[in-house]
Structure formats: structure tokens, C-alpha cells
Point group: C2
Chain length 201, copies 2
DNA sequence: AAAAGTCCATACGGAAGCGTATTGACTCCT
DNA sequence: AGGAGTCAATACGCTTCCGTATGGACTTTT
């Protein structure tokens, strides 16, 4: 079930007066989340963006949280699957770790969504998803660190450290203008991080 | 001006029917922020907590954002001053770094406030404060890393890495139950982080 | 003691959200 | 053609905030 998160054509491309599906609302919700956070995903706001009114929304969803939950479910499936799939072919653990770190740089939209969800971690619908995702990724990292030669205890700590660095970097980079990096500054930082956190191959 | 953030006695201790000052409102705002985030700092909510009504609030402050701004100002003065003051007496840079990392563990309320502010970093009043604070602390860290023997470029990167790890750790620890650590697990992690990020003394 | 200043209560208006109820329009099936 | 099902528009009530207006009580000043 490798359903791409963007497999449906944007509404605009499908003729102006098309009817909407639940999926369209979810895509719109993801866009809004990426741009302005979970709190900005309001029914009427979203309806205006999609060119319809609330009447449509409450046909597809029973209430707002149902949209949030449904949206997060699709995001979780896509995002974790996608993240791991891109590096599973690399057999050398050290190289794989480096690739993970480098790849986590590209997909900007994905990061924006992730950052938005982090900020909404007190929301009862969001919290369990983020707990699950964070734990899975840290566990995965720990396994790879161990495969790369670290002892099990150190691997767990290093995974937490690396993941914390990722989460914190998202905050600092996406939220604060003054702490942003230039393109080359970013590449430099990335290499520094890799050298610091990944045991030498 | 080392005014402690808690130098005023709690309202309850000062006799029941005492009048309030702007400072009382700011303290209440900090408490609310630590507990439920910046968004939870609503005028009427806070008034109820303090045992008065809105009428009082709009005597002391012109509008809600004025309270937020005023509260952040006092927090910034206290928090950064306090954070640096506690370690400035240590002259050995490596040892000082270790102390910084270890001390940043204790003051729980301070962390909760910091985490709440991070999550509200899109708020126009909060953003500039957090940008300033983050930049200052990263710059400070970079200087100490350099004093500890790293070359200037590496020191800047390492400072960013360490600060990101701190910010990310706050998120993971304070928000997600499942990613929390036991007391000794925490100490272990801390030492692992110190060994990984601080050059050997 | 009278006046001025300080702090709070109460009542009100208005904006944003959520969710419901009802009706309309359009499509598809029989 | 007529009915069933699908999607959307409109209008409404409800809650939760913000901010204003006004008056009362208590304290300090003169």
C-alpha cells in the first residue's frame, strides 16, 4: 500500500466545478498544517480554500477531529514508509546512517508538517501519533547504530541524541529567521553532525 | 538587577483580599504558560485563577499581548542572566561546558516555560524573544567550545548541534510520555551526550 | 472630610470557531 | 420519469475569547 501522498491531482487541474472527496479535504488539511500549523486547520478556513462551504465538510466528516485523525493516519503511513524505504537497500550501516542524515535534508514539505505536528503535540489526537512515530524512528536509529558497531546501550543513547538534534534543528531552522543557515552553511553543518554522531566507517 | 522570578510572595500568602499588581498577572501568566502553553494564557482564565475578574486585568494592561510581552521580558532577563551566572565562575572551558549541560537538567519549570515558548514561536510577540535568546545562547556555546580548543568553524557547528539536541530533547521528553526516561536513564544519557559532544578535557 | 487616585465587578458588543438542520441540485439506477 | 443517493449552500444556535464602558468601593492625598 505505497499510496503516494500526492497521488490525486490538485483540485484545480480536474476542472473547476468538481465535487470533493474526503481525500481532498485531507490534502488541504496537510497543506494548511504545513503552512500555518494544526490550529489553523479550521473547518471554515479550509472550506474557503477549497472553494466550498462547511456544508460539504460535514458530509465527509462527522467533526473536525475526524479530519485531523484521518489526515494524520495517511501522513503516518506515507511518511514513515517512505522514509525507511529510501535507505533500506544500503547494507553498510555506517553508510546508511549517513544517507539517512543527508536525505532528511531534502523533503521540505515533510519537515514543515512534522514541525507543525510537534508543536501540536498536546492535542489529544496528535499526541499518540507523534509518540508512536518518534519512538519507531528512534528505535530504528538505535538498531542501525548498533549494527554500525556501537554497544547496545550507547546505541540507544546515540539514537536519542541524533533524533533530538533533528527535532531541535527543525524548530530552530523552520521557525527562527535569525538562526537559519545558508545553503553551504547547511551542508557544512550536516557534515559536522555526521562526523560527530556517526562512528567512523 | 538580579530580580528573582519568584521574589514576590504567592497571592495566597499575602492575605486573601489583597489587590493585585501587574507582576502578579505576569507570574500567573508564566504558570499558565508552563502548564498549558501560551495559547492557554487567556484573560478570563487567568483572572479566574487569580480570583478576580477581567476588570482588574484591563486596569493593569491595555490588551492581552501587552501581558505576554511584559511577561516575556521579565522571563528573558531572569532566565538568561541566571543560566549564565551559574557557571561563569568556572574557568576551565571543558569543565564549564559539562556543568552547563548538567545544570540544564535541573530547573524543570524553566524548561517547561521554554518548551511552551518554543511551541508558540509563530506568535508575533514571542518570536523575536525566542530568536534573540536562541541566538545568544548558541553564540555563547560557540565561544566556549572554541575556548575548549575547537577551531572556530567547528565550534559554531557544534554549538548548533548541542543546542538543537537540547531543544529536541525538551520536545521529546516533556511532551511524549513514551519517550521519557527514568532518573538513571536520564543521567546515563546525559553523560553519553557530554562524551559525544564535548571534546575530551 | 472632600477630592483624587487606584483597583475591581458587571454588563455589553463583536469576532471566530464548531456543529446542526434544512433545503437544493445533480447523478445514477431502475 | 421517478426515486434514491451524493454533495453543497444557507441559516441558525452555541461557546469562547477579546476588548469597552461604566460605576462602585476602597485608599491616599490635600
Amino acid at each position: 500500500m505505497t499510496t503516494a501522498l500526492r497521488s490525486v491531482a490538485p483540485v484545480a487541474e480536474r476542472g473547476e466545478k468538481q465535487r470533493l472527496t474526503a481525500r481532498d479535504w485531507e490534502e488541504g488539511a496537510l497543506d494548511l498544517m504545513a503552512d500555518e500549523g494544526v490550529a489553523a486547520v479550521a473547518v471554515e478556513t479550509l472550506a474557503k480554500r477549497l472553494g466550498v462551504t462547511k456544508g460539504s465538510f460535514y458530509w465527509h466528516f462527522s467533526h473536525r477531529d475526524a479530519l485531523i485523525a484521518s489526515t494524520l493516519k495517511r501522513w503516518e503511513e506515507y511518511d514513515t514508509h517512505n522514509a525507511i524505504a529510501r535507505v533500506e537497500s544500503i547494507e553498510n550501516p555506517g553508510v546508511r546512517l549517513r544517507e539517512i542524515f543527508r536525505l532528511t535534508a531534502r523533503d521540505v514539505r515533510s519537515h514543515r508538517i512534522y514541525a507543525a505536528l510537534l508543536k501540536a503535540a498536546d492535542h489529544p489526537v496528535v499526541a499518540p501519533v507523534m509518540e508512536r512515530v518518534s519512538k519507531e524512528r528512534m528505535d530504528y536509529l538505535a538498531r542501525v547504530f548498533e549494527q554500525a558497531g556501537m554497544d547496545p546501550v550507547a546505541a540507544v543513547h546515540r539514537a536519542r541524541l541524533a533524533y533530538s538534534a533533528y527535532v531541535g534543528f527543525l524548530q530552530l531552522t523552520l521557525q527562527f529567521r535569525s538562526t537559519r543557515l545558508s545553503q553551504e552553511g547547511y551542508e557544512e553543518y550536516l557534515e559536522h553532525m555526521i562526523d560527530t554522531l556517526i562512528p567512523a566507517a
